[in-house]
């Protein structure tokens, strides 16, 4: 039930239609996310992933007007009753485009922006900024201007800015789209470390499962505004492989390989989601 111990997000019958749109962007969404989970939210373009994320921190319906129905509780409070500003203390949001999230002239000022809005004392702001910059690995960048940074550095700074708000949930909306694969892996790793060390709930929207599959425990697949699959990554990929792959999600190649081998009866174990487990399973088999 919503508001129960350990639950940080609870949606019941949540629906949304953008103003001026003919169809529902979200249709009867029911989901419960526990504190500290790492959730991968995926689905084809236009399925409603970003819409759902925007509901979590109040950008919907405040910034993006429209009709909202059903119920959505974050940390026990209904989002309909709070402003984006208030929700920003609970839910941090990292956007896809690294550069368009940074507005200040130096990194330090940008990270300080969030806490400054919270009405804290200068000492508290200082403490938070220092902690956040360290946690996100941006201390050496503190006097640089946003346009002087690389995409990966910019995303780290955006992450620091969000961390400084000390939210209990961080939503990352395709944060690695503009980054090269190595930087993408670093950022995802950093996010997972932060989650473990601070108990933050992480929701990542991503098409490319191979990047996130290693860290995400749970996967939620959406299509046409509805949730079509929700469960542990290995379970969903194993049980619903055909359906999920039909939706055009970027499945990890090892999973695809395994499903092909399984179809021909050459293997029977559950689908691996990353290379390490595939190596283990294959080595065992081949050593027989």
């Amino acid at each position: 039930m919503a508001g129960t111990q350990g639950e940080i997000i609870a949606a019941r019958g949540l629906g949304f239609q953008y103003a001026g749109s003919a169809s529902k962007a979200l249709d009867d969404i029911n989901i419960v996310i526990g504190q500290g989970e790492f959730v991968l939210l995926t689905g084809p373009s236009g399925c409603g992933k970003t819409t759902l994320c925007r509901c979590l921190n109040g950008l919907i319906p405040n910034f993006h007007p429209g009709e909202m129905s059903g119920e959505l509780l974050v940390d026990g409070v209904s989002v309909a009753a709070e402003t984006t500003s208030e929700l920003s203390r609970k839910v941090g949001y990292v956007f896809q485009n690294p550069e368009n999230q940074l507005f200040a002239l130096t990194v330090e000022k940008d990270v300080a922006f969030g806490p400054e809005n919270l009405g804290l004392t200068r000492e508290e702001i200082r403490a938070r900024v220092d902690w956040a910059m360290d946690a996100a690995g941006t201390v050496e960048l503190k006097d640089l201007a946003p346009y002087e940074l690389s995409g990966g550095q910019q995303q780290r700074v955006a992450l620091a800015g969000v961390l400084a708000m000390k939210p209990s949930v961080i939503v990352l909306d395709e944060p690695t789209s503009f980054l090269d694969p190595r930087t993408a892996e670093e950022i995802m790793g950093a996010v997972d470390d932060l989650r473990r060390e601070n108990g933050i709930t992480v929701i990542v929207v991503e098409h490319r499962l191979d990047l996130v599959g290693r860290y995400a425990e749970r996967i939620v697949v959406m299509d046409h505004g509805r949730i079509v699959a929700d469960g542990k990554v290995e379970d969903v990929l194993d049980a619903e492989f055909d359906r999920v792959s039909g939706l055009g999600i970027g499945l990890p190649k090892v999973s695809l390989l395994w499903s092909l081998l399984k179809r021909d009866g050459l293997v029977s174990e559950r689908l691996p989601t990353h290379v390490e487990s595939a190596v283990k399973m294959l080595s065992e088999r081949l050593s027989n």
Binding site: S45, K253, V254, L257, L260, L266
Partner: protein
């Protein structure tokens, strides 16, 4: 391919004259690029930039796609036909009279592609075509590229999406810090630890998998899922037979 800042886009811009070399020479079909204008070179070398918003400005998709043709001095009758053809090929015909700004991100990317394909350049350069695309969109793009290539067009893709490249298995040029560090087939180049390290990339999953299965006699230069399956199939069937025999 190469990390951000390796010089990939800079090199691409040399190919249609937007940038001229300060040392050495660049020739297109034998013509030195310093002796031709960008407009002249673009006639043969078309670059599709990464962000479609940098291109779109017309009132309708039709006008947008016909813009370059007008600039290049095509006859009005020819322009109409070319535009129709290109819109058909990219499944944009039903948007012909729509404003490009009303389309979704993926559709705008297609319009940008159409705007360049309209004049049928012999050499097509795509700058990061897979960013922001979901798997289905990437599939369509891949098929389209392969089709263009089979029609005799040269296609150059600037990208760091290793999995996408693994699926196409083209010739790969690796760059790092302004230099070319390797050239070769995708399966050779992307499965080489040293080269991957130098170019700050990551190996495709299949390559990572097979680099750790070397002990079983598998080759290392595997990037394609289907080839991987075939190789494993053989060995796994052998194992199955052996297990069946011994029991």
């Amino acid at each position: 391919m190469g990390e951000n800042g390796a010089g990939k886009t800079t090199l691409a811009k040399q190919l249609n004259g937007l940038l001229k070399p300060t040392m050495g020479r660049v020739t297109v079909d034998g013509d030195d690029t310093t002796r031709r204008s960008v407009a002249q070179l673009s006639r043969r070398v078309g670059i599709v930039f990464q962000n479609p918003d940098h291109l779109l400005f017309s009132e309708t998709v039709r006008e947008e796609v016909g813009f370059a043709l007008k600039n290049f001095g095509f006859e009005p009758g020819v322009i109409v036909k070319q535009v129709e053809r290109t819109l058909e090929a990219l499944d944009l015909a039903h948007y012909a009279d729509t404003s490009p700004f009303l389309l979704s991100g993926g559709e705008r990317k297609r319009v940008a592609l159409a705007a360049v394909l309209a004049w049928e350049p012999d050499y097509l350069i795509l700058d990061e075509p897979t960013i922001g695309q979901d798997y289905q969109q990437k599939e369509r793009l891949r098929n389209f590229i392969l089709q263009l290539n089979s029609q005799g067009k040269a296609v150059v893709m600037v990208t760091h999406d290793v999995e996408f490249v693994a699926e196409c298995n083209p010739k790969v040029v690796l760059m790092s810090k302004g230099r070319i560090v390797a050239q070769g087939q995708a399966d050779e180049v992307l499965s080489d630890d040293g080269l991957i390290e130098k170019a700050s990339l990551v190996k495709p999953q299949m390559a990572k998998l097979f680099s750790q299965l070397g002990g079983f006699g598998f080759p290392r230069d595997v990037v394609d899922v289907h080839r991987a399956k075939m190789l494993l199939e053989e060995k796994l069937s052998e194992v199955k037979v052996r297990v069946a025999q011994s029991s």
